[in-house]
Structure formats: structure tokens, C-alpha cells
């Protein structure tokens, strides 16, 4: 890994040069909030942003995506035979300014789409054709708890380049081969002055010390799955408050559940994958009407048990959460994953009690 210096006066020109090789995606302000969007010619990402309201998972995994199509015209040779659409575009793209926590989420999600038995070609091709240029986080939100969720404001383990803002310039860690290629394409090649690594380490320590909230996760793997499942002391309160709106699942960078629906347009049929949510009753309703997760409590419990217990046990890869805090700040009824995680972590099945924390 090497560190280069990118003067902010060279930033815009570099971004322009990248367009020859990459489709660019970056944070832009839409009305009141930031979102990750395709950057039109001449459009510069807003690097002053805090974070996007919805996680940038859709850069890899669109909210709605045609996965197959087929002809419904009887005269066609491939009548009713589904195939991949021809217009899938997996040219190289670069996501500029992604926060380290959001980049780390892709690693957590990958275990779902890239398995020994099956590979999801859409997710994998999109991920592999993307270069991630991260922006280290110097002013975290009060809802951030990344440092205790396996990530951090300077977590660079899933970035190709990490930018550290130094007012009139960035210090950029070039982490991977992909990052090296992108820096070259942008013409960013000035080696940083001596002491740059130390400067980054200092900023990292400063940023980490600003993160005041945390979750306890050390006991989650040891806890009995069925004990936690049956711990009504944990589930009843959030289930009472929850309105099953699904906001948490849509905003979350690590929620991956989807639905598949067929839609017909003229003489063509499309098989479409859409984000789905475990908050919705129909997510699990059988054709017979029977629903194994028929109550709000079942669904609230599923979301937290999935992230904080089933995932932990199944993949032995920590919790399925990077601590971005979006679900905490967007929940309309103030359900807080940090409090629930702490309750699960501290639950004692003998006395049916757990620790209740402020957040």
C-alpha cells in the first residue's frame, strides 16, 4: 500500500479523466438528502456530505432489476424460453466517496450471493466490475457505532482507495490493484510527503475517539438460539412499537432479501428482482394463507435475530451490521438496534433478564 497526495485543485480534472474508463457514481444532494447517483458529464460528487440517507447498496444491487426476459410471441423461436437480457452492462464503474462502513457492508452481504453451490451472477458481476474510492469519516453521527460492529470510520479493508480529507488536499491510500489502476487513470500520481501514514493514523485515532456509542457482541455466538428466540423480554417492546413500515430494511446496507416477480409488457415477459422486507406479512405467507411469521413480533424478531444471531452462527463472520446507524435515525418509532443488540448480548435465560442500555 502506498499513499499519494491529491490536491483538491486537481480533483475535478481527475474525476473528468476517469470518465474515459469508468462509469461514475457518487454522492449528490437531491432536495434535502444525499443519494448515490450516476454522475453526469461535468457533475462532481459532493464530498462534503455526511452520508447518504439510503445506503449505496443499490450501486451493486439495484432496488429493481430485470434478471431474465423472454418472448411471448408464438412465432418466435425462443417463445417462452427465459434468458438473460442482452443489455446488461458490466463495464467498469467507480463509486466515489463511499463511506468505509458502507463499503464493509458488501463483504457481509457477499456470503449470501457467492456460495459454494450457487453464485448470483448479477450481484457478483456488478461487484467485481466496481472500484471503490472511499472517503474516511472525520465527523461521525451520534447514531454511528461502526467501531463496535466490525467496521470503523477509517476501515479500509473493503476499499480500493481511501481518501483522507486534509482541507486543501486528500491523502489517498492506494490499497488494491484496482485502486492503483484508477489513480493512474485519473492522473493522481504525486507521492505523499513523508509522515503521511502517521498523519492518517492520527486522523484515524481522532475519528475513532469521536464514536461514542457501541454495541456489545461478544456473547452473541455463545447464547442459545432458542433462548434468544423465546426471550419475550427482548421482543415485546419493539414489536409493540413497530409499524412494520420496512424503512430499516430498505435503508440498511446489509439487508439483502428480495422478491422475484414476472411482468408482461406487450409480447415480452420480464422476470424482475425487487428488494423485499421481512417486515411485511406477505414475505412469508403461504399460498394456503398460513403464515409462519404471522405476527408483528415474529417479524421484528426475525430482523434482529437474522442480523445478530442467525448470521453470527451461520457464517462465523461477526454480526450482519456495520454500525452505520441509518435504521436508528430513520425509524419512525425509535426502535434502536443498539439497545436490542445489547439486550441479546446480555440476556440471561435463567432469570429471563437482560441489560437495558440508553441507546
Amino acid at each position: 500500500m502506498r499513499v499519494i497526495r491529491i490536491d483538491k485543485s486537481d480533483w475535478d480534472a481527475g474525476v473528468e479523466k476517469l470518465r474515459d474508463t469508468y462509469r461514475l457514481i457518487g454522492p449528490v444532494k437531491e432536495k434535502f438528502y444525499h443519494t448515490f447517483a450516476a454522475l453526469e458529464a461535468g457533475q462532481i460528487p459532493d464530498m462534503e456530505y455526511v452520508n447518504s440517507r439510503i445506503s449505496p447498496k443499490y450501486a451493486i444491487y439495484p432496488q429493481s432489476e430485470i434478471i431474465l426476459s423472454c418472448s411471448l410471441n408464438e412465432d418466435d423461436e425462443d417463445y417462452k424460453i427465459y434468458h438473460e437480457p442482452e443489455d446488461k452492462n458490466y463495464e467498469q464503474k467507480a463509486v466515489l466517496g463511499i463511506r468505509p462502513c458502507d463499503a464493509d457492508s458488501f463483504e457481509l452481504v457477499r456470503v449470501n450471493f457467492d456460495t459454494e453451490e450457487y453464485k448470483d451472477p448479477y450481484w457478483l458481476r456488478a461487484y467485481e466490475s466496481t472500484t471503490f474510492v472511499g472517503l474516511a469519516c472525520d465527523s461521525p453521527c451520534p447514531t454511528c457505532f461502526c467501531t463496535s460492529a466490525g467496521s470503523g470510520p477509517y476501515s479500509d479493508k473493503n476499499l480500493d482507495i481511501m481518501l483522507v480529507d486534509k482541507q486543501d488536499h486528500y491523502l489517498a491510500e492506494i490499497i488494491t490493484e484496482k485502486g492503483e489502476k484508477l489513480a493512474k487513470a485519473a492522473g493522481w500520481q504525486t507521492e505523499a510527503e513523508e509522515g503521511a501514514t502517521d498523519a492518517i493514523d492520527k486522523s484515524r485515532a481522532d475519528a475513532e475517539s469521536k464514536i461514542k456509542s457501541s454495541v456489545g457482541t461478544e456473547n452473541l455466538a455463545k447464547q442459545s438460539l432458542l433462548d434468544l428466540y423465546e426471550a419475550t423480554v427482548i421482543w415485546e417492546k419493539p414489536a409493540f412499537a413497530c409499524i412494520n413500515c420496512g424503512t430499516c430494511t430498505y435503508a440498511c446496507p446489509t439487508c439483502w432479501c428480495f422478491d422475484i416477480q414476472d411482468e408482461v409488457h406487450g409480447k415480452e415477459s420480464f422476470r424482475i428482482r425487487n428488494w423485499d422486507s421481512c417486515m411485511y406479512p406477505i414475505f412469508t405467507t403461504h399460498a394456503s394463507g398460513h403464515n409462519p411469521r404471522g405476527t408483528k413480533l415474529d417479524r421484528v424478531r426475525q430482523r434482529f435475530m437474522h442480523k445478530l444471531k442467525y448470521y453470527v452462527d451461520k457464517y462465523e463472520n461477526g454480526i450482519q451490521c456495520t454500525g452505520c446507524g441509518r435504521c436508528v435515525s430513520l425509524c419512525p418509532v425509535n426502535i434502536d438496534i443498539r439497545g436490542i443488540c445489547n439486550m441479546m448480548n446480555s440476556y440471561d435465560p435463567e432469570s429471563c433478564t437482560c441489560e437495558v442500555t440508553a441507546s
Binding site: E117, R125, L225, L226, C257, I260, R293, H306
Partner: protein, 281 residues
């Protein structure tokens, strides 16, 4: 990279109405590309996603046996959007199948053992697959006694009637057919619920005896205590679950019971495994 979402195109070769209320039909499919049949190599107990272009996909247990070549069979209960449409489809129509998906009955474990098959209603499809598989001459010698207990509401609601009668004539399996009630005085089989017949006719549980149980929840609920009484341990009771599914390959996230995905880690579980998961099925 193999795309696991693309179905193999198939042609409906034959449709047979199975039950007197016409709610169940068996579809026999032939692969449009013969090489797809080889790729679809399956084991008894697995399922597939049946795909009707423009409507969607449904997960259905494979009713044919891996020993039957040249076609695959599925028995479909008319209940939702896709199944209702399928009941109006005709022989010769084109659709798709994707799979085989999920695990299978533990044939390696069952070798050299007594096998008791307990089925109720239309959950008999993968059990048909299993019986045909075990009765294949080269396979039959791999298993000791085979007992089958299969029940439906009435004689007209039994699936695969001709095959049931043919199996009842054989001496290499012990066939117990039952109906909840019947006003035909000449009905040659049992009358009574599956749990009752299991108690009367089922062999005792031994280290060498495994039960495969598939049926409606109410049947399973009342069969379980009977099997306990007969001496079956939890690891020798094998069950097949169903849950709402979309992808069938463990990715879409809805069919889980705890950390197990019914589509990929199942649908076949032992009772011992199920007792360690939340009962979300």
C-alpha cells in the same frame, strides 16, 4: 458463471387429473434440450421451481423418481396464481423448470435399514418418488423392510391410485392405505386417520428403523406422539418442510427457520434438527 435463475425449457407431455375434486393434477414434463435432463440429475426428496413465463415460479416437490428416465413429474394442487393457471394449461405447452433444489431424504443413512413411509393428503409426491426409487430392483436389496402408510380424506382423494393398488399386491413392501371415512362397503383398505393406522400397523422403532413423515400439520402433530410411543428417536424421524420461497437457492431470505434455509439446507430435516430451530413453518 452458471446462472442459477435460468429455467430449463420443458414441454408438458401429459396431464393427469388425480383426485375426484379435480384439485390435483400430475404434470409430466419432457426437456426441450435432452442434455438438460442430465443436468437436472436429482434424488428423491428434492424439489424444483416450476416457471410459467409471465406469471412466476412455484417450488414443488419432484414426484417422479430418479430411476424413471425421459421425463419428470410434479403433482400440483390448485391454490395460488401460478398453480391455478397451470391447471388450465394443455399438453404441448412450453414452460420452465429450475433445479433440482434442496437436499434429499438421507439415502446413504437409510441403506441397510427398515424404512417406514407415512404420508397424508397431497404431501405424497416426494414419497412416491422415494417408493419407486427403493422398489427399483437394483435398489430394493439395499433396504430391509419397507412399510408405507398413506391416507387421504376419501378413496377419490388418494393420489396415484393405480400405483397404490399395484404396490398393495407386492410382497416386498407392506402397503397400508387408509381413508378418513368411506361409505363403500367393498372398500378393501383401512378406514381411519393416519396416526391411528400408524399405531396399529406401524413397526416398532429400533436402531435400524427410520420413519419419513410428510403430511398436513394436523397429521404430523398427531403422528409424532404415536411414533414416540412406538419407540422412534428424534434422529430417526425424517420430515420434509415447505415454506414460501422465491429463489430456491438460499438467497432471497424468506424461507428460513432460524439459521436454516428450508430451500437449501432443507427441505428435509430430522425431527432432532427441527427441535433445535424456531417453529416458523
Amino acid at each position: 458463471m452458471e446462472n442459477p435463475y435460468i429455467p430449463y425449457p420443458v414441454r408438458i407431455d401429459e396431464i393427469k387429473t388425480e383426485t375426484e375434486d379435480k384439485s390435483l393434477k400430475t404434470f409430466k414434463f419432457v426437456f426441450l434440450n435432452p442434455e438438460d435432463e442430465e443436468k437436472f440429475a436429482y434424488k428423491a426428496g428434492q424439489f424444483a421451481e416450476l416457471s410459467v413465463p409471465g406469471l412466476g415460479e412455484i417450488p414443488i416437490g419432484i414426484a417422479s423418481s430418479p430411476t424413471e428416465k425421459g421425463f419428470v413429474k410434479f403433482t400440483i394442487f390448485k391454490t395460488g396464481k401460478v398453480t391455478s393457471y397451470m391447471h388450465s394449461m394443455k399438453e404441448g405447452d412450453i414452460m420452465g423448470i429450475r433445479g433440482p433444489l434442496g437436499n434429499w431424504y438421507p439415502w446413504e443413512t437409510l441403506e441397510g435399514k427398515n424404512v417406514v413411509i407415512i404420508g397424508g393428503g397431497f404431501a405424497f409426491t416426494t414419497l412416491r418418488s422415494s417408493i419407486i426409487y427403493m422398489l427399483e430392483p437394483e435398489n430394493r436389496k439395499k433396504f430391509k423392510d419397507i412399510n408405507v402408510i398413506y391416507g387421504a380424506r376419501s378413496p377419490g382423494m388418494l393420489l396415484y391410485k393405480d400405483e397404490l393398488e399395484a404396490w398393495a399386491q407386492r410382497d416386498d413392501l407392506n402397503m397400508n392405505i387408509t381413508v378418513d371415512s368411506c361409505d363403500d362397503p367393498d372398500w378393501p383398505h383401512h378406514t381411519g386417520f393416519v396416526p391411528t393406522i400408524t399405531e396399529q400397523e406401524g413397526p416398532s422403532g429400533t436402531d435400524d428403523t427410520y420413519a419419513i413423515v410428510c403430511g398436513p400439520p394436523i397429521m404430523i402433530k398427531f403422528t409424532q406422539p404415536v411414533l414416540d410411543k412406538l419407540g422412534y428417536t428424534e434422529d430417526r424421524i425424517i420430515m420434509s418442510l415447505e415454506n414460501r420461497m422465491k429463489c430456491g437457492i438460499g438467497m432471497c431470505g424468506r424461507c428460513n427457520i432460524g439459521k436454516e434455509l428450508v430451500c437449501k439446507d432443507g427441505p428435509v430435516f430430522t425431527l432432532q434438527q427441527l427441535n433445535q430451530t424456531p417453529k416458523e413453518y
